[in-house]
C-alpha cells in the first residue's frame, strides 16, 4: 500500500459547487479504487411533499429540488398532476412552458459546458461560456421574473404571460445568443487543447450506456438514441422542430459537443415557438382532489426525469416520487473512474453535469 495515495474529492472542493464525496485511491495518480457518497444533500423532500405541502404547493417545492432545471421538476409534477386530474392545458400555456423549458436547457447546458472547461483548467472558455450564458439568464429573468427559480408553470397552465414588449427583447437577445452559441459550438468542437484533453477520456461506450441505463446527454454522446422529448409527449416538441442529437464516442468531448449542438437546436425551437405562439388562455383552474396514480417522464437538461405521484382524494398527496437523471447516471460514473488519471476526474465528473441536490433530494 506504500504507493497508494488517498485523494478525497469533495464534499467541499473548488471544482464542485455541490457536496458529493469521492474518495479515490490512486497509484501514480491512476485511480485504482473509488468510493462514492452522494447523500449530502438529502433533505427529505419526498417525505415533505407527502406530508407537509398541499398538492398545489408541491410544484414550488419540487422546483427547489434543483435550481438548474427547476422548470423540469415543476413540469414533471404538473404534467403528472394534470394527467391524473384530467386537466386540459391551453395550447398557449404549453408553448410558454416549452419556451421556458428550452431556455432552461440552454442555460443549464451552457453552465455544464463552461464548468467542464473551468475544471479542465480552461478559465477563459469558462468565462466566455458564462458570459454568453448571461444572455439566457436575462431572458429567463424577463420571462419569469427570476433568474433561477422560475416558478413559471403551475397546475393548469403557467403563471405569467408573454407580453409583446418582452417578446421583442427576447427576439433580440435570442439573435445574439444564436451567434454566440454557434461560436461556442466551434470552440468546443475544434479547440485543440480540449480535444487533446477530452477526446477518449472518460469514455462511456454504447453497450455500457445501455447496460447501465445511462440517460441524457451522456447517453446520446455514447450513441444511444434516447431522449424523452421524442418518447413522451408532455409538450409539443414535434411542432417546433425538435431534432435528436446523437454522437458516437462517449467521451467528455462528445458529451460537451452534444450539449453544444442541443443548445443550437433549442435556440431554433425557441425561434419557432416565438413565431408560432398560439393565442389564448394561459391557465385553466384546477378543481377537485387528485386520486389514483400517475407517472410521467420528462427530458430535463441532464436527461430523463421520472415522476410518480399517487393521491387518495386528499389535499396532500400520498406519494411523490422523483427519479432524477443524475441518480440514474451515478452507477456508470462510478464504473468509469477506475484506471483513470486523477487529473481527469474533475472534468469527467462535471461532464456528467451531476446534480446531487436532485440525486439525494
Amino acid at each position: 500500500m506504500g504507493k497508494r495515495i488517498t485523494v478525497p474529492f469533495g464534499s467541499q472542493h473548488v471544482a464542485l459547487p455541490e457536496p458529493v464525496r469521492f474518495v479515490f485511491q490512486t497509484e501514480n495518480e491512476k485511480i485504482v479504487d473509488v468510493e462514492v457518497d452522494v447523500g449530502y444533500v438529502h433533505r427529505g423532500i419526498e417525505k415533505a411533499c407527502a406530508t407537509k405541502f398541499k398538492y398545489m404547493q408541491v410544484g414550488y417545492v419540487v422546483a427547489r429540488v434543483c435550481g438548474l432545471c427547476a422548470i423540469s421538476h415543476t413540469l414533471g409534477y404538473v404534467t403528472a398532476l394534470e394527467r391524473l386530474m384530467g386537466v386540459e392545458v391551453p395550447k398557449r400555456a404549453l408553448y410558454l412552458r416549452l419556451l421556458v423549458s428550452e431556455l432552461d436547457r440552454i442555460h443549464s447546458h451552457l453552465l455544464a459546458m463552461g464548468h467542464t472547461a473551468e475544471v479542465a483548467g480552461y478559465e477563459n472558455l469558462f468565462m466566455q461560456t458564462f458570459r454568453h450564458r448571461e444572455l439566457v439568464m436575462e431572458m429567463l429573468e424577463l420571462l419569469t421574473g427570476n433568474r433561477v427559480q422560475f416558478d413559471f408553470a403551475c397546475p393548469g397552465g403557467v403563471n405569467r404571460d408573454l407580453t409583446p414588449e418582452v417578446e421583442k427583447v427576447l427576439r433580440e437577445k435570442l439573435k445574439v445568443l444564436e451567434e454566440k452559441a454557434l461560436w461556442l459550438r466551434d470552440v468546443y468542437e475544434n479547440d485543440f487543447s480540449l480535444t487533446l484533453r477530452w477526446k477518449g477520456t472518460g469514455v462511456v461506450t454504447e453497450e455500457m450506456a445501455k447496460e447501465m441505463n445511462v440517460v441524457g446527454p451522456p447517453a446520446r454522446a455514447a450513441g444511444l438514441k434516447t431522449d424523452v422529448r421524442a418518447e413522451f409527449d408532455y409538450l409539443p416538441f414535434k411542432e417546433v422542430g425538435y431534432r435528436m442529437v446523437v454522437l458516437k464516442g462517449g467521451s467528455i468531448y462528445e458529451r460537451n459537443l452534444v450539449r453544444a449542438l442541443e443548445v443550437l437546436n433549442s435556440i431554433e425551437m425557441c425561434w419557432n415557438i416565438l413565431d408560432g405562439l398560439p393565442e389564448g388562455d394561459i391557465k385553466v383552474p384546477v378543481k377537485g382532489l387528485p386520486e389514483g396514480e400517475m407517472f410521467v417522464r420528462i427530458e430535463a437538461p441532464r436527461g430523463e426525469l421520472f415522476y410518480y405521484i399517487r393521491g387518495s382524494k386528499k389535499l396532500i398527496l400520498d406519494r411523490v416520487r422523483i427519479r432524477v437523471p443524475t441518480f440514474a447516471n451515478i452507477p456508470v460514473m462510478k464504473e468509469l473512474f477506475v484506471g483513470m488519471d486523477y487529473a481527469d476526474v474533475p472534468a469527467t465528473v462535471i461532464s456528467f453535469d451531476p446534480c446531487l441536490s436532485c440525486t439525494a433530494r
Partner: protein
C-alpha cells in the same frame, strides 16, 4: 551588472514581481472580457495576509514555506549578480526543493501530489534550461550572466528555436495553463501551497512573484547585450504566455513531460546542433 544593482534589484524583486502579477491579472481579465482587479491587487493581498491569524500544520512545514521565499530570493540574486548561469538555474532547483519538501512533510494528499508534480515540472523544464545555458554559452562565449549581458551578439538571432521552446515552457515555470499541473487549482487546489495560511502563505505567494522576475530575466538574457530588445522580449513573452494561458486547457503531467521532452527539447537540440555546426 554590479553586485549593488543586483542587490537592489533583488531586494525590490517582490515589488516588481508583484506589479507583473497585478498586470497579469488585469490582462487576463481583459482577455476574458472582464474588468479585473486593480493593479495593486497583489499588494492588497499581501497586506491582508499579513493581518491574518496564522494557522499551521506543524512548524517544519511552515518554516519550509518561509525558506522557499528566502531560497527563491537567493536564487534570484545568484542569477542577477552576474554569476554562472548554470549555477543560477540549479539554485532555482534548490529553492524549489524547500517547497517540495515542505509539501511532502504534511499528510495532505493534495500537498503531496502537488509536491510530486512540482518535481515533475522540474523534470520537464530543467533540461531545457540547461540546454539554453549551453546555447547561450555557444553564442556569447561565456556562462557568466554579466558576460552575456555585455555580449555584442544577440543570442535570439542564433537561437530562434530554442527561444521558442523556452517561451513555451514559461508556463511550466510560472505554473500557468497549460502547464499548471503542480498548482492545478481545480484538481489539487494549489498543490504544495494548500496547507499554508496567513503569513506563511504570504511567503509562498511572494516567492511566486520573485519567480516571475526570475523567469522574465531569463528571457531577457536572450537579447544579450541589446537591452532594449530585451525589454521588448519581456513584453512579448508576457503577452505571449498570457495568451497561451487563456487559450489552452490544462494538460496532465504526462502530457506536460512528454511535450517538453519530445517536442521542446528536440527543438532546442536541433537549434543547438545547427549553430554548433555552423560555428565549426
Amino acid at each position: 551588472m554590479s553586485y549593488w544593482t543586483a542587490f537592489i534589484l533583488t531586494l525590490f524583486s517582490p515589488v516588481i514581481g508583484g506589479f507583473i502579477y497585478g498586470l497579469e491579472r488585469i490582462v487576463r481579465a481583459r482577455m476574458q472580457g472582464r474588468v479585473g482587479p486593480p493593479l495593486l491587487q497583489p499588494f492588497y493581498d499581501f497586506f491582508k495576509l499579513m493581518d491574518k491569524r496564522s494557522i499551521i500544520i506543524h512548524s517544519f512545514h511552515a518554516f519550509m514555506g518561509v525558506m522557499y521565499l528566502i531560497g527563491t530570493w537567493f536564487a534570484l540574486f545568484v542569477l542577477l549578480s552576474g554569476g554562472d548561469l548554470l549555477i543560477a538555474i540549479f539554485f532555482h532547483v534548490l529553492s524549489l526543493a524547500f517547497l517540495v519538501v515542505g509539501g511532502f512533510s504534511v499528510r495532505s494528499p493534495y500537498s503531496v501530489i502537488g509536491a510530486m508534480r512540482e518535481l515533475l515540472h522540474m523534470v520537464a523544464y530543467e533540461p531545457l534550461y540547461v540546454l539554453s545555458a549551453a546555447a547561450l554559452y555557444l553564442v556569447t562565449g561565456t556562462f557568466q550572466v554579466s558576460g552575456i549581458l555585455r555580449s555584442e551578439h544577440v543570442p535570439l538571432i542564433y537561437l530562434p528555436l530554442l527561444f521558442t521552446a523556452v517561451l513555451f515552457s514559461l508556463p511550466a515555470i510560472l505554473k500557468k495553463s497549460p502547464f499548471d499541473t503542480a498548482e492545478a487549482h481545480q484538481e489539487i487546489i494549489g498543490g504544495p501551497e494548500i496547507e499554508y495560511s496567513g503569513k506563511f502563505y504570504e511567503a509562498v505567494y511572494t516567492a511566486k512573484w520573485i519567480e516571475y522576475v526570475y523567469a522574465f530575466f531569463f528571457i531577457f538574457l536572450f537579447a544579450g547585450g541589446n537591452h532594449i530588445l530585451g525589454a521588448l522580449l519581456i513584453i512579448f513573452a508576457f503577452f505571449f504566455f498570457n495568451l497561451l494561458d487563456n487559450v489552452t486547457a490544462r494538460v496532465n503531467f504526462r502530457q506536460m513531460v512528454a511535450f517538453h521532452w519530445y517536442i521542446l527539447i528536440p527543438l532546442a537540440v536541433i537549434n543547438l546542433m545547427l549553430i554548433a555546426l555552423w560555428r565549426s
